[in-house]
Amino acid sequence: METRLLLGDEALAQGALDAGLSGAYAYPGTPSTEITEYIRRSPEARERRVVGSWATNEKTALEAALGMSYAGRRAMASMKHVGLNVAADPFINAALAGANGGLLVNVADDPSMHSSQNEQDSRLYTEIALVPCVEPANQQEAYDAAAYALELSERHSIPVLVRLVTRLAHSRAPVTLGPSRGQNPLSASTDRTRYILLPVHARRSYDRLLEKQEEMVRESETSPFNVLSLGSDRSVGVLACGIAHNYLLEVTDGRPAMPVLKVGQYPLPIRLVKRLAGECRSLLVLEEGYPYVESRLAGVMGQTLPIRGRLSGALPRAGELSPRLVAEALGLQATRGLPASPVPVPRPPALCPGCPHGDTCRALVDALALVRGTGRVFSDIGCYTLGALPPYSAIDTCVEMGASITMAKGAADAGLHPAVALLGDSTFAHSGMTGLLDCVNESSAVTVVLVDNATVAMTGGQASAATGRIEAICLGLGVAPEHLRVIEPLPARHAENVAVLAEEIAYPGPSVIIARRECLQTLKRRRGASGQGGAV
């Protein structure tokens, strides 16, 4: 049996490949990106002609996976937690239509917001969609979860959410691979009532989905991902979800003295929870993200048994868990290190020296100073968001992907001028195009600065969906050709770039200025710069 050293993300991808996956669709987002990068690099995937595709956004990715599942093959869509907001519509409705070939939705949550704007917990989405969730605790389980969840998906004809968190997604451990299974044959669904969600069908689908819920609880109760182990210390029983179980084992040398329910599959295995509760005088819930399990238990058995966790204050409400926090919640002796040093100063991430976005930000700040007034820059998410920091201090907002052009439009409608939108080429394709059409339709006085570095730089340089077609898209959406300008963000062109920006900012209708220069990192990679010392 072969063993490989894999990230949690990679283990899940390899597991899916070995389980006969036919297609992996994704939009990049930390910490989920390496799932699809692994598939796209994998020689096995290439040999087996597995589709490994960067989609325009998470919604198109999930819909493509749904279509592949409809055709009878095994498929998955991968995204970061906030990506599921974008894909929420297909996610929730796919649960009604169901899966034909196995369908996985892999979502990587980011507690502590290492690279995200919030720490939402994807397990809550599974309650809205009424689908099961598998939450692996380690890399081996991430590998095993893929085949298990695909099988579960096919057996019950239901999509399954696989939840990862940053520390599992981005940690490596040896993983033992299992046997590899062939792909499903093409066998498109013939069930129109299932896939045409007219109300008359959808009501029946919904009834079927509700009926499945009891089966899902039974699946959880016998799942290899949910394991009850008994212990002699009955003062507390621990529910340890996902990677929290590792921390529990770490601080108890692998032998917890108390009864423990390891939770790795939802809906909650009610009978196992009740058996655990019967074994002890209080409960402690260890979970990454929201106090999801804790709040449900508090409602059911909070009167009879003290329940501690993130809600009760035994653990912090926000941020990721750690061995130290788990040890504290268990009342174990602290292991103290050296005192913290007051010397280090923060080292915030910054634009690479010479980055084109820096030149665009400088030009934009100077152009806005020229026109004076109460102008605002509504930015989006990408490397250019770092223009928020000195020395640029070039942007005023950054809320979620796509909220640049549209917020600028609303502010312009309110009378704010200049209203500038700043967004990257990938974000434009992801969710900027529709907002631009809104601006064109209403001749809104919005100046769009589209920083085109020909890649998705923020997440490591993936291919960007609109590369080479941005002008055509803008013109197609109805931007007037004379207000579609292209500049080259370079220090030597600063004065002319400021002039172009100032002109378009003064124009009281929709205009787009494309600031085009390639990302230095992808440029370096393309030129095959030698990787001395640097990355393996």
Binding site: L5, L7, T30, P31, T33, E34, H114, S115, R167, L168, H170, S171, R172, A173, P174, I243, N246, Y247, L249, E250, V251, G254, S322, P323, R324, A327, A334, T335, R336, G337, L338, P339, A340, S341, V343, P344, V345, P346, R347, P348, P349, A350, L351, C352, C383, L386, M458, T459, G460, S530, G531, Q532, G533, G534, A535, V536
Partner: protein, 198 residues
Amino acid sequence: MRCDILLAGVGGQGLLSVAAVIGHAALSLGLHLRQCEVHGMAQRGGIVQSHIRYGDAPLYSDLVREGTADLILSLEPMECLRYLPFLRPEGVVVTSSVPVRNVPDYPDLALVLAAVRQIPHHRIVDAAALASEAGSPQAANFAVLGAATPHLGLPVNALAASLDAAFASKDTRIREANARAFRLGVAAACDAAAPSLG
């Protein structure tokens, strides 16, 4: 045997390559291994860290528990100071003396090095000097790795083999420079009798 390490550095210094070399060496000896990395946003010139753990008994947590690290291996002197609460009182810090000053308020280097010298067990390595002696300024990361070998609990030869394998696809000049920097680091560690003399 068990070793819990915190690797510290700044984006672009090749910290994850050092982690990969240690990890593959540990695996080649049949040890259990867990290694946690920082990807994404934090890499753009910001702080990079990795937790790496190996030993002959199973390991559970991907993160090192505070107060239990045996070693902080740092490619930058200010960076090692961030993680002192992770270091057990008898633990060792091995750090490069060469600052990366990409922030305007970087403290006075003398102050930074004085703080390192207050750590009971420390070794400060002039990684830039060793790397240029090796013929490649980019190989400074492996000079620091070499200097940390007395505290890794892994045979030097296993690490050298892992280093060579990691760059197997690269040109021999690069591989030789990496190997020289690593050996110079090893030698520098042998010269000093105890780490606190560094």
